[in-house]
């Protein structure tokens, strides 16, 4: 091996080595940011008036809950999970929550490796994961905490308005590569999707691609919902899929089989690409974890679901 001869190159090797830990660093940064945020809120919460609205099960107006809860998983849910954690922490300063994203697969893997309390997942556990959980001595209990629709987004300049599941399948399997074949202009479709750690990726695989078939190889696997939104807003020929909470005015949301994705169409089951957002724990949550999940399922937590653009369990 070549030996670096100067201090400069030694420093170089160091940064180079650092980069191998990219994903780890991403989590670290997110969790650090979460810690800082919750820490700052906790510090702020001491001086501000306690506005506990009696949502915890203890029935007292002053929270005496304490403990730490580690959460990791779905990138679709990460903003909502952060908002939950921050609000819950202002009401219960004794509870320290850390939230990290990365993808449902990341959260489930962390759960199976016993490094988190809750895994956020925008999909159900796969059979293989269930058996891995059993092997690891875990009893995976899934709690549905919100609902979501996977929306199909295109660039604002795109003339398309509606897309069917069949057309989507053909596009994402790579059978249709030009917009004119689905009623658009004559341009090559730029396929955007998530990486294989994403629950949304698995959801589209199950619902659209079909079992035994595969995504087109030309699909670009992006890191997050936000990355897909950014690329679609810049690229006239792009198509992508994101959670309902990520829709904004910089992109155009297609209706699917004539149905617009909204709270109502998800709740009455007419929107074809709706799904549950889950939190997975080892056994039924107890203690501080139970308090947290009850709070999420209560009015406070569900209000945040709606604020974040997702679908509450009840209207």
């Amino acid at each position: 091996m070549l030996v670096a001869g100067s201090e400069k190159s030694v420093r170089m090797m160091y940064t180079h080595k650092e980069e191998m830990l990219v994903k780890l660093r991403k989590w670290l940064m997110i969790s650090l940011a979460a810690m800082l945020a919750t820490g700052a809120l906790a510090a702020g919460g001491c001086s501000s008036k306690s506005t506990s609205t009696d949502t915890n099960t203890s029935g007292s107006t002053k929270s005496t809950l304490s403990g730490t809860i580690k959460i990791s998983g779905s990138d679709t849910m990460v903003n909502m999970a952060q908002a939950w954690a921050e609000k819950f922490n202002t009401e219960n300063p004794g509870v320290v929550l850390t939230v990290a994203g990365g993808g449902s697969g990341v959260g489930i893997a962390a759960f199976l490796n016993k490094t988190v309390d809750f895994a956020n997942a925008s999909r159900k556990l796969k059979d293989a994961e269930k058996s891995q959980a059993t092997t690891a001595g875990l009893n995976a209990v899934t709690t549905v905490v919100a609902k979501d629709a996977v929306t199909i987004i295109v660039n604002s300049a795109n003339t398309m308005k509606d897309i069917t599941k069949e057309q989507l399948g053909k596009i994402y399997r790579g059978e249709i590569t030009n917009w004119k074949d689905v009623g658009g202009k004559d341009a090559t479709i730029v396929l955007l999707g998530r990486d294989s750690s994403s629950g949304t990726y698995s959801f589209i695989q199950d619902e659209i691609i079909g079992s035994g078939k595969t995504y087109a190889k030309s699909m670009r696997n992006l890191q997050s919902n936000q990355a897909i939104v950014d690329e679609v807003s810049k690229n006239a020929d792009a198509i992508g899929y994101v959670g309902l909470g990520y829709d904004n005015s910089s992109i155009k949301v297609l209706t699917c089989a004539g149905v617009t994705a909204s709270v109502d169409t998800v709740l009455n089951g007419t929107y074809p690409l709706s799904r549950d957002l889950n939190m997975i724990s080892n056994g039924q949550p107890t203690g501080v974890m139970k308090a947290y999940i009850d709070w999420i399922l209560g009015t406070e937590g569900q209000k945040i679901v709606a604020e974040q653009g997702f679908v509450p369990l009840k209207k």
Partner: protein
């Protein structure tokens, strides 16, 4: 150490003390050398150990020659070819950009630049090393990708070319600063001798200075190559991460490093996918090891030729 009680023993004691210090220093250096080698071997063993399951169940050849990368479907397909080809493209583009510019830049810095220009340029190059790759990735995403997309009339700027150019820019400072050191350490006598024999400044540089610094320059290029092939964040952000085996730099590609970084977090430790990713790491390790070995052999032959 006991303090010598008289002059006589002191005179004897000093060489003894020196000898002891000498022995200790020799021993420590020996230990340090072996620790470095042991760490390298340990890394290799660790990778191989974690890769055994995949090597046994999937098979090395099947992975190396597989053209499909679908790690999460049933049955999973673990083909390395898209990642290997993508890595080669990105690294190749990076070197095409960084080697000529880097060497030319180092020649300019060492032989032509003077005074404040030299100082400023050197500090800028030094500073370039300190720019985190995420920042370069963001700049590439915001400016370079759209620019290249419109220039080459492709639908998206997330492609091997974009990643390659940014990685090339990242390996520039490595190549420049180490080459500059090598050129700088060429003895003045050689330059003056060459000029005295009637060579022009330019002839002196390409006939005398660069050849005598060639081993250092070569080492710089190799380190730059190592930097390029190991770069992760930038390719993750800019290469597009498709599953294609690309035949042109204007297509979306995935690389070995990008694939490992993207998927390592989601795999269950001890699972097949986990083991496959370790195999990928092993392949990357072997590739860089072979590159370094080849570089060393080339250098050795060079040295022999110069000695003649």
């Amino acid at each position: 150490m006991t303090v010598p009680s008289s002059q006589k023993t002191a005179r004897k004691g000093r060489p003894a003390f020196n000898r002891a210090a000498d022995a200790i220093a020799r021993r420590s250096i020996w230990v340090c050398g072996w620790v470095a080698i042991a760490v390298l071997v340990a890394i290799f063993v660790f990778l191989a150990w974690n890769a055994t399951q995949a090597l046994r169940d999937v098979g090395l050849w099947k992975m190396l020659s597989g053209t499909d990368w679908y790690p999460t479907i049933e049955p999973a397909r673990y083909g390395f070819l898209p990642s290997i080809v993508g890595s080669l493209w990105v690294t190749g583009i990076a070197l095409l950009l960084a080697v000529p510019i880097g060497i030319a830049g180092s020649i300019y810095l060492s032989e032509f630049a003077t005074g404040w220009v030299k100082e400023v340029t050197k500090s800028v190059v030094e500073f370039m090393v300190a720019v985190p790759s995420v920042v370069l990735g963001l700049l590439g995403l915001a400016y370079l990708a759209p620019l290249l997309a419109t220039t080459f009339h492709v639908s998206s700027g997330l492609m091997a070319l974009t990643a390659g150019l940014v990685v090339g820019i990242m390996s520039l400072p490595t190549i420049i600063s180490i080459s500059e050191d090598a050129l700088h350490s060429v003895p003045k006598d050689l330059r003056q001798g060459s000029l005295a024999l009637g060579n022009t400044r330019w002839q002196t540089i390409y006939k005398v200075v660069v050849p005598s610094a060639s081993s250092g320059i070569f080492a710089a290029v190799m380190l730059g190559l190592g930097r390029a092939i190991g770069e992760t964040m930038v390719v993750l952000m800019l290469a597009g991460n498709s599953g294609l085996i690309i035949s042109s730099p204007l297509e979306a590609a995935r690389t070995l490093t990008g694939t490992i970084a993207q998927e390592m977090g989601e795999v269950v430790s001890g699972g097949e996918h986990y083991s496959v990713l370790f195999t990928m790491g092993l392949v990357l390790f072997v590739i860089t090891f072979l590159i370094n070995l080849a570089a060393d052999m080339v250098l050795e032959r060079q040295r022999k030729r110069w000695r003649r």
